[in-house]
Every structure is written in C-alpha cells, then in structure tokens.
Amino acid sequence: MTSRMQTVRRVSLAVVRKDLRIEWSSKVLLNQVAPFSLVIMIMFAFALDNEGILQRVAPGLVWLATLFSMLVIVQRSFAVETADGALDALRVAGTEPLGIFIGKSLALMVQLLALELMLLAIALVLYAVEPTAMGYAETFATMLIATIGLGFVGTLYGGLGAGARGRETLLPLLLLPAVAPVLIGATRATEAAFGSGGAQSSEGWPWIGLLAVFAGVFGAVGALAFGPMIEE
C-alpha cells in the first residue's frame, strides 16, 4: 500500500512538473488566457457602464472571469494529453491514474491561482475595490480553497470523453453547472471580504466552509472516478 502511495506521489509530481513545464515553454497562460480574462473584465465594465455597480458586483465578476478562463485552461490541459495520444501512452504504460489525476489537478490549481491573483489586481485597479487587511486574508483563503475545488472538478470533467470529437464544445455545458456552488460560495465570501454592499467580513467564513466541502467531495470522487473514466 505504501509503495502504491509512493508511486502515486512520484507520478503526480512528474505530471505536475510536465504540465507546468509545457506551460512555461509555451506561455499559453501568459500570452493568451491572461489577456483573455483582462478583456472579460473590461467588457464587463462596458456592459454594466456604472462605476458604483461595478464596485458592488466586482466579486461576482472576478469569479465569472475565473470560470470562463478556466474553461480555456482545462481545454488546453487535455488537448496536450490527447494530441499525440499521450494519454493512451500513459495508460498503456500502466501509469497510476490517481497520480495523473492529482498531478493534473495540481497543475490546474497553480495556473488558476496565478490567474486569480491577476484578476484580483485588475479588480483593485479597474473596479476600485478596497479591502481591509482582514479582507485580504479572507480573499486569499477563498481563492485558495475555491481553487482546490475548481482544480479537482476541472480535471474530472476535462478527462470525461477526452479524445472524443466534439468534446471541446461540450465542456462548458458540463463544467459550468458543476461549478455553480463555487461561483455562489466564492462570490459571497469575496463580497464579505471586499465589503461590497455593506457586507461584514465575518459573513464570508460559512461560504468558505461550503467551498471546502466542495473541494473535499470532488477530490474524493475524482480520485475514485478518474481511473475508470480515462480507460477507454
């Protein structure tokens, strides 16, 4: 059992290093996804056209932009795996699927977290939100826990039907309803952290609890379901 755990650890470390190295050399996140989310944030300002409203709904916009950008990252994360039959090769080689799941989830989490920090900075500048010191702590806690959940659920749904034609257009339909709890929880927690609409910072913690439940559930289920899912 311990040897299996060691294998899982080794595989997941290798996968996360591989994914981040691919990102480092291709710079897709930096050159394409980050500018895309910046455009989303600017377009929100065009659509809402009112600085008071923007400041009020900033938390929701940050998380919506995160989710939309996440779709692109998940797409990319599995396009890399299926392009040259890499996933098949891993499977044939008898690679521990749990290791692949954890590795890909971690890589997704790192990328999402980087993106969220950037979106937070954009919100501070463009939407004029001014959190307190406590608010910052709460925002970072929210981001961290929400990202863990998003990483698991994104990897799980990203792997569903990986390699099948037409799955690129299907992913948003499957993933967005599944992450609705994260949008609700993270937005409310961030509202409390930003003090939007007079929310108190203590109001945010129950929502962070919801995010932790989400992360736990999808982490456990992903660990169980990912193996059978990719063995096609």
Binding site: L160, L170, A178, A180, V221, P228, M229
Partner: protein, 244 residues
Amino acid sequence: MTTTQSTATPTTQKLGIATAIAVIFLVLSGLIFSAEDVVQGSTVRMMYVHVPSIWVAYLAFGLTALCSAVYVSNRSRSLIWDRFAGASAEIGVLFVAISLVTGSLWGRLTWGTFWVWDARLTSTAFLFITYIGYLAVRRLGGTFSQRARRSAIMALLAVLEIPLVHFSVNLWRTLHQKASIADPNAKVQLDGFMLFTLFWGLVSFSMLFAWLLIHRQRLMALEDAVQDQGLDRAIQERRTEAGR
C-alpha cells in the same frame, strides 16, 4: 436484409391502451370534474400536469442513476442498462421541461412573473441543464461501450452534483436574500377530489413514463443494431472492392 421490426409487444400494447385511458380520464377530471380553487380559480388545474411531470422527472433521473450504477458494477457490462439509463434520462429531460413551462405559466398568472430566483426553481433549472449535458455526453460518439462508460460516470457525477448545487442554491437564497413570493410553507389546502385528481395524475404519468421508457429503450437497441449493420456492410463493401 429487410425486416420490419416494431418496438411494441402485446404487453406494451396493453400498457399503452391503459395509459391512454388513464390520461384521458386525467384530462377530464383535471379540466371538467374537479372544482376551481377558491383563490387561484382555474389556474390550479395546471398543478395536475405540473406536479406529475416533476415526479416523473425525479423518477426518471433516479432510474438513470440506478441503471448507470448497475452498468458500472456489473461485470457483464450489459448494454441494456446503458440504454435504459439513456432512455430514462431523455424522458426525464422532457418532463422537467414540461414542469418548468407549466410552472412558469402558472407563476405568470399567479405571481405576475414567469420566474423568481427561488431556491427550488433555480435548482430545477440546474437539474434540467445537467441532464441536457448528460444527453450530450451520450452523443459524443465512439463505441457503444465507450458511450456506456462515459455516460454512466456522468450520470453518477450528476447524482453528486445535484445535491451540492441544491444545497448551495438553498444557502444562497436563505442566507443572502429571503425568497420573495414562492414561500414553500404556504401549502395549499386541497379538497378531496382535487387531491384525487393530483394522485391520478401521478399514477397516469408514471404509466406513461413506463410505456415511453420501454419503447425508447427498444428503439435505442434497434438504432445500435442499425449502426452495427452499417459498419458490417461498409466492411463487406471494402472487401468486395479489394477482391475485384
């Protein structure tokens, strides 16, 4: 090979006739025999379609999950479970749609608006979208066993996802903002015959569900067979081509 195959058997024909009679009786008692509501007037009649529809939808999605679990756990990997799961989900999506449409029409007449952001309505909308996603997963293509495995996992994920969404939407509406008009505690007092009609609706819609389910499952089996035969024929054609 041209054989005409029907999805009907003597049993399903009897079930079909019984269902038709039950539904006709439901229409009569819903529209004519039952009384108007004191407050809502005739709009209450919408309930006789609305409630049985959502009942059938829950039944259908429950069956989808059950059949998917059987498919995954059963060593034989019999495709009949996959087809029952798929047929059931299709019918479920149809009936959630009916229930959403009748519900919002009723809402328009009673509350003056088609939609309120109430927890139950919102989760039902998510239920609808989730199973549309499930049906889309079924159409991804690939072999039958690929389809079966993917969709079974998706169906089991949905079982997990729906309570989470429901729970968080509930929190959203209760912690964040009180539900405005749709008060779940405001139970309507039903008179005897109205209650009977509602119950009859549940029975006849369940029969309708069973009838649709059996036929759809058989139709899916035929569709799969056609696809198989098409493949065989294509291989045969290539062979004769190569032999020439």
